[in-house]
């Protein structure tokens, strides 16, 4: 009988059928014992075959060897010995059980004997045959056996299920579905665990292979980066929003919101307080609505991301103060109509911002320069009383202050200069007097410019005149026109555009800073030198006259400031030294020529014929000296220092010294 024989044909089943009344338990027992013995035998058979396969040994032996051959077979394999013993024990146990069940079990025992004898007979032919079958056939047979075993197991499982369906518990049959569920669960657990193990193993292998593949890794990274980039923008946006809210002082709100939300969460678990929950949900909805509104506001504010945080804070402060002011006024329409006229009040509110600080600084600088010019003019006036055409600009400024006829300072200045331009024969014959007059003219120009800057831009300078000069020649007028444009816009648009106002202020302040810086530069450069203002005037006139004028004294008092001090035209002076001197002497010569050229206001000095590269560093030195504001005297003193150090070194005997240009580069 093969193991795959249907159980219906088994004798136990026949017996159960034959005596159905009350003897089902015995039949069941015999049936299960039979099945168990079959299973054990098959498992042993399988185990033996597996061990044989693993050992790569192709020896065959009988499961039931003769007792006489036991001694001979014992050294063959311990595995076969153990398997034989296992099978033998199983058979003995089975036969003993069979004997205990009665005479009918003898049939089964005979059948068993037949089975094992059959197996024995089957294996007899192959006894003592070693490696007669090739490994392939052997593997096929094993696989077939395994398949048979699997079928048997499956059939046993189904049989057990079907058998269990008949099981009664306390006289009532257990529902089939419950039993089936239990059985299936038991099996599926094993199957699922096996599946998971195999899947994990496969996954490990696959990932192990994949992670060594650079293309795969780069593709994964690329995808991660793409996803991460999109998420990063969201994160950054959220962080920026949080930062802005923190800067705008919404920390308390957000904290209270989070507290509210936390309490809401905690309260939601409390099932007893339903009413409270309702209230909280209402609160939460209102809070959410508020947050949405704030988010909208933030989105709107994100449109001007170019503004810095400080500017945002300033803007916020400004808006808050305006709101407060509106509330105080109580009449919004009235406020809008008066928004443009109340610019002074708003400027006071901006006073905490950096713009107002910059304005204060500029005004202070302008006042200082004005004071300096005034003091300088006072000193000059005491000396030059004999020059009637030289009206001191103090007097002139007094005229400006007193003049209510709307005459511009420019016109006054021009008038003054024209009056100076036609001097009497006895007044300006002397050149020195003429130069002094020119100095004062330049002072007038500078002072006029400062007064324009201070007066036309509505600074809080009570001491300044309110003259409205609309000349477009000076740079300050650009700022004035811009501010006026701003006023017009302000009048057109009743709602104040503070962003535009701040931009306008920024441009205006930039221009003011530029003007003040130039003025300071002029003052620093020319304040200590008596000839300075004359030189300044010369530069200013040179900006308008690009070529030399051969004869006649020039009185080009057009009132224009030099636009760019560096770009005044002049002859291109090229120096060619034809001296066979040493390197040091050549460098010294060039530096001295540079000093002399600077004294003569040569705008740009070129050195020709420096093929040996001795003067390569001279442009660098000159640029450094110009950048650091060295004067001719300073440079000469540095050269003297170098010469003295060199003399000392030569006296000591140390000749390894730097060249002049290297030394200047280091020490300037």
């Amino acid at each position: 009988q093969s193991p795959s024989t249907p159980p219906a044909k088994s004798p136990s089943t026949q017996r159960a059928v034959m005596s159905p009344e009350g003897e089902c338990s015995m039949d069941d027992l015999s049936f299960y014992v039979n099945r168990l013995s079959n299973l054990v035998v098959q498992m042993a058979h399988k185990e033996i075959k597996e061990k044989l396969e693993n050992g790569n040994k192709c020896f065959h032996h009988s499961i039931y060897p003769p007792s006489g051959d036991k001694g001979k077979n014992s050294p063959r394999s311990a595995v076969s010995k153990i398997a034989s013993e296992m099978v033998h024990d199983a058979v003995e146990i089975t036969s003993a059980e069979m004997r205990g069940t009665g005479g009918e079990e003898c049939r089964e025992g005979g059948r068993k004997t037949f089975l094992y004898s059959e197996l024995s007979n089957k294996n007899k032919g192959g006894d003592k045959q070693i490696c007669q079958k090739d490994s392939k056939e052997f593997a096929d047979s094993i696989s077939k056996g395994l398949m048979v075993y699997a079928n048997q197991v499956a059939s046993d499982m189904m049989l057990s299920v079907m058998k269990t369906l008949k099981v009664h518990t306390s006289g009532k049959p257990i529902p089939a579905c419950v039993v089936l569920k239990k059985v299936l669960l038991k099996h599926t657990k094993d199957i699922v665990s096996d599946l998971i193990d195999s899947c994990l193993k496969n996954l490990h292998n696959i990932t192990g292979v994949l992670m060594t593949d650079s293309d795969f890794v780069s593709a994964v990274k690329r995808n991660l980066f793409n996803h991460g980039r999109q998420n990063a923008t969201d994160i950054m946006e959220a962080m920026l929003k949080r930062l802005v809210s923190a800067l705008l002082g919404e920390k308390k709100d957000s904290k209270s919101q989070s507290l509210l939300y936390a309490s809401l969460k905690a309260g939601s678990h409390d099932l007893k307080s339903k009413n409270q929950n309702k209230n909280q949900s209402l609160e939460f909805s209102t809070m959410k609505a508020e947050m949405k509104g704030k988010d909208k506001g933030k989105i709107k504010s994100d449109q001007c991301k170019s503004l810095s945080s400080a500017e945002r804070v300033g803007e916020h402060i400004l808006k808050e103060s305006l709101n407060m002011w509106n509330q105080k006024q109580g009449n919004q329409g009235k406020m809008i109509s008066k928004a443009c006229t109340s610019r002074e009040e708003k400027r006071e509110k901006i006073s905490s911002s950096t713009d107002s600080l910059a304005k204060d600084l500029i005004v202070s600088a302008l006042k200082l320069i004005q004071y300096h010019l005034t003091q300088q003019a006072k000193g000059k006036d005491s000396v030059e009383d004999d020059c009637p055409s030289t009206t001191s600009y103090m007097t002139q400024s007094a005229q400006y202050e007193k003049s209510s006829s709307g005459q511009s300072t420019k016109a006054l200045s021009m008038k003054h200069l024209e009056s100076r331009g036609a001097p009497g024969p006895s007044n300006c014959l002397k050149e020195a007097q003429q130069a002094d007059c020119q100095k004062l003219d330049v002072s007038n120009i500078v002072l006029t410019l400062i007064q324009k800057l201070l007066s036309e831009n509505n600074f809080n300078c009570d001491d300044l005149s309110e003259s409205e000069n609309k000349s477009t020649e000076l740079r300050a007028n650009k700022a004035t026109s811009m501010s006026k444009r701003g006023e017009e816009q302000c009048q057109e648009n009743p709602e104040l555009d503070f962003t535009g106002m701040k931009q306008m202020n920024r441009q205006f302040i930039d221009q003011l800073v530029e003007s003040v810086m130039k003025l300071c530069l002029i003052m620093a450069k020319y304040s200590n030198n008596g000839e300075a203002l004359a030189e300044l005037e010369e530069q200013g006139s040179m900006a308008n006259n690009s070529h030399y004028q051969a004869g006649g004294p020039r009185c080009s008092h057009d009132g224009a400031m030099p636009q760019n001090f560096e770009e005044f035209p002049g002859p291109e002076v090229i120096v060619n030294n034809q001296c066979s001197t040493s390197s040091l002497q050549k460098q010294l010569q060039a530096v001295l020529q540079w000093i002399a050229a600077s004294q003569f206001n040569v705008p740009m000095l070129y050195f020709m014929g420096d093929d040996d590269g001795q003067l390569d560093k001279l442009p660098e030195v000159s640029a450094k000296a110009a950048e650091k504001g060295y004067s001719v005297g300073d440079l000469l003193q540095e050269v003297m220092k170098f010469a003295k150090e060199r003399q000392l070194d030569e006296a000591v005997g140390n000749m390894a010294r730097k060249q002049l240009l290297d030394w200047l580069l280091t020490n300037l």
């Binding site: 030399y548 060619n576 001295l592 020529q593 540079w594 206001n601 000095l605 070129y606 003067l615 003295k644």
Partner: protein, 188 residues
């Protein structure tokens, strides 16, 4: 600037050490960067290293004979400015040659020889930049010797119709000075 240069006189002492004039920019001349701008080429030649050609020497000697100028007897503080006024019409370049004798560097007084050299270079620049208004413009052909040498300025100017100077050469030995027009001026 010209008016200032005009008013400036070399006889006026320049306080070099305390001059607050800002320094100008310096660059190396490259002939490729030619611009349509007036140029002044000033060539400073140390007479100690001057190797004048025979003809030039004769001319120079001729001029010196007329003007009592001998380069050998040139003192340390003296400078001769030779200008080429004719070339100005040909192009925008106006050239000047400044012949000077270098002062020996006095090891004791650094300031002295520095100022001495500075004075000479200043003379050269002055003459090169303001030829018409120079107080030191004495043609070689002038008969009165006292006008050849300005008493307060140790400089001479030679106004020649044709002065050929090889500006482009780098070796001072190959410098070629021709002052043929100076002789003509002398004849005139």
């Amino acid at each position: 600037m010209m008016s200032y240069l005009r008013s400036f006189q070399m006889s006026d002492p320049i306080d070099w050490l305390h001059s607050s004039r800002g320094v100008c920019k310096v660059d190396l001349y490259s002939p490729t960067e030619r611009r349509e701008q007036e140029r002044k080429v000033i060539c400073f030649v140390d007479v100690a290293t001057l190797n004048v050609e025979d003809k030039g020497s004769k001319d120079a000697g001729g001029s010196s004979s007329g003007g009592d100028l001998t380069l050998e007897h040139l003192e340390d503080k003296e400078i001769i400015v030779i200008k080429d006024i004719e070339k100005k019409e040909q192009s925008k370049t106006e050239g000047s040659i400044c012949l000077f004798k270098q002062a020996p560097s006095d090891p004791i007084s650094v300031l002295n020889w520095l100022l001495n050299d500075l004075q000479k270079y200043a003379l050269g620049f002055q003459h090169a930049l303001s030829p018409s208004a120079s107080n030191c413009k004495h043609k070689i052909g002038d008969t009165e010797n006292e006008h050849h040498r300005y008493p307060h300025e140790n400089c001479y100017s030679v106004y020649a119709d044709q002065v050929n100077v090889d500006y482009t050469t780098n070796r001072p030995q190959s410098l070629r000075v021709e002052m043929t027009a100076a002789k003509n001026t002398n004849n005139n």
